[in-house]
């Protein structure tokens, strides 16, 4: 696919402009994002991948491809909060008082926004149906024409039939013939939609200036160190480490490192270094250990890192 195509698609998905800071929902101890535009924005602009954890309604019996919501690691949430790109909203605490007292203008606005979203979804569905119909008709006409080339005399009388029959659907032939093929767009009733957030997006809490930052594991300095160098990170469970580090978007690159964070004076058994180095080399990656220097007075994040690869002898 041409690069321009991909970029066009990107622009489509992320067409709604995102204003920082974005809100991260804190639900049952998880940091979640429900807006696809925010998800793509954070990935594009801030190298934050997160993990999709939601089932896909159309294909619920698999867990290879997952959808919204996106769960952020505590490290990712903390980093976004520290860079003032995002802030944390405790969903339960916010929802309970807010939703029960929703009234007047605010309530009307909320209902309007639901209706608007429903109409949007309906328009999209209608558009899809129209496209499918046009496609079906074109295909039908092409078949007729091919037949017509063999039997030119039967061409004329076949056309009215084909206009009525939209046979692209699986059960198209058993459907009662409708007088007009465009019954689908007759009603203007908006679709019923289930909003992914329980509060109106417009009435989020004021951004707290000094808020509690998400608690993070001790490997956080290594995480920020890698992130500041442009690395993308994903959870490292698959390789028995803290993070897998990618030199670019994980969709385009293989990862370079299995990264594990340690305290500056934390004891590291030699077997862990040998094991990590061996595993890393086996999967064409380097084993990276690192942590923040505690007594350093230098500028910057003063994180020291070491890469280990098999020596080949």
């Amino acid at each position: 696919m041409a690069k321009a195509d991909i970029e066009d698609e990107h622009r489509d998905v992320g067409s709604d402009t995102i204003t920082e800071p974005v809100s991260i929902s804190l639900i049952a101890g998880r940091y979640l994002l429900f807006d696809i535009n925010v998800v793509t924005y954070l990935r594009r602009t801030h190298n934050i991948c997160g993990v999709l954890i939601g089932g896909i309604p159309q294909i619920p019996q698999q867990n290879v491809f997952l959808g919204l919501p996106l769960e952020l690691l505590p490290e990712e949430a903390r980093l976004l909060v520290e860079k003032r790109v995002a802030y944390i909203v405790d969903d339960t605490a916010w929802h309970k008082p807010k939703f029960s007292t929703l009234s007047g203008e605010e309530r009307r606005r909320y209902l309007d926004s639901l209706r608007e979203a429903g109409l949007k979804s309906k328009r999209a569905a209608d558009e899809g149906a129209k496209k499918r119909q046009a496609h079906g008709l074109a295909k039908e006409a092409a078949t007729r024409r091919a037949k017509g080339a063999l039997k030119p005399d039967s061409d004329e009388k076949d056309i009215p039939d084909s206009a009525k029959e939209v046979s692209d659907s699986l059960f198209g032939d058993e459907r009662p013939q409708s007088p007009t093929p465009s019954t689908i767009s007759v009603s203007n009733k908006p679709h019923a939609i289930t909003p992914t957030t329980t509060y109106p997006p417009l009435s989020l809490p004021d951004i707290p200036t000094e808020e509690a930052k998400p608690p993070v594991p001790s490997s956080y300095p290594l995480f920020t160190h890698l992130h500041s160098r442009g690395y993308f990170t994903t959870p490292g469970l698959r390789f028995g480490c803290d993070y897998t580090a990618y030199p670019g978007d994980p969709l385009r690159f293989h990862s370079h490192f299995l990264a594990t964070g340690y305290g500056w004076e934390e004891e590291i058994p030699m077997l862990d270094i040998v094991g990590g180095g061996r595993l890393g080399t086996g999967v064409k990656k380097g084993f990276l250990i690192g942590g923040a220097e505690s007594e350093s007075s230098t500028e910057g994040d003063n994180v020291r890192t070491f890469c280990i690869e098999w020596g080949g002898m």
Binding site: I273, V274, T305, F306, C307, G311
Partner: protein, 184 residues
Amino acid sequence: MAPSVDLAMLAAPPLPEAFHPPHASAHPLHLQQLASTILHNLQHQHDWTLLSIHTHSESTGQLLPRPVISGLPPRRAYIHPDEQVATLKLEHDTGTPVKQLPEGEWVLPTHLGEKWSLKQFAAIFDALDTIPPNDEIAHEEEGSVGRQWQGNNRQKRLLLATLHDDSTIVYYIMHDGIVKPRQN
């Protein structure tokens, strides 16, 4: 592992000239013994040359945290992936193979039973120069391919030698900082 280990040699390992006698350094005896075991393995199993054991830092003159070995492997112990790409490209363009001369390496002797920390590794790297001293094979071919990944241009690295009680020794390349992995 080491099929050629000879009991007579173990009893009295032939020490190279540069090997410091035990009383000359203030390191505990077990660390000196560890270093000489690794050196022995490098010399006789891996055919390294120009081996020597360093007890003091070249730059500061201070006692190293433990004795560190330097030596010359029979062939290059490490080739940076970018250098490999550049070499392959050159070989493809010119049609003649590029000669890979070996480089001097640091070797850090460790035992499997030990526990290290980032602080200790940092102390070792800080005390060592990028390349071992008296690296007589410092081949100064100006403008040759791979110069930017060799000699003083290379990122600090050492060979982490880990000894097990059954005399198995494994060698791992350790870089100071982030160095992208080789595509073995």
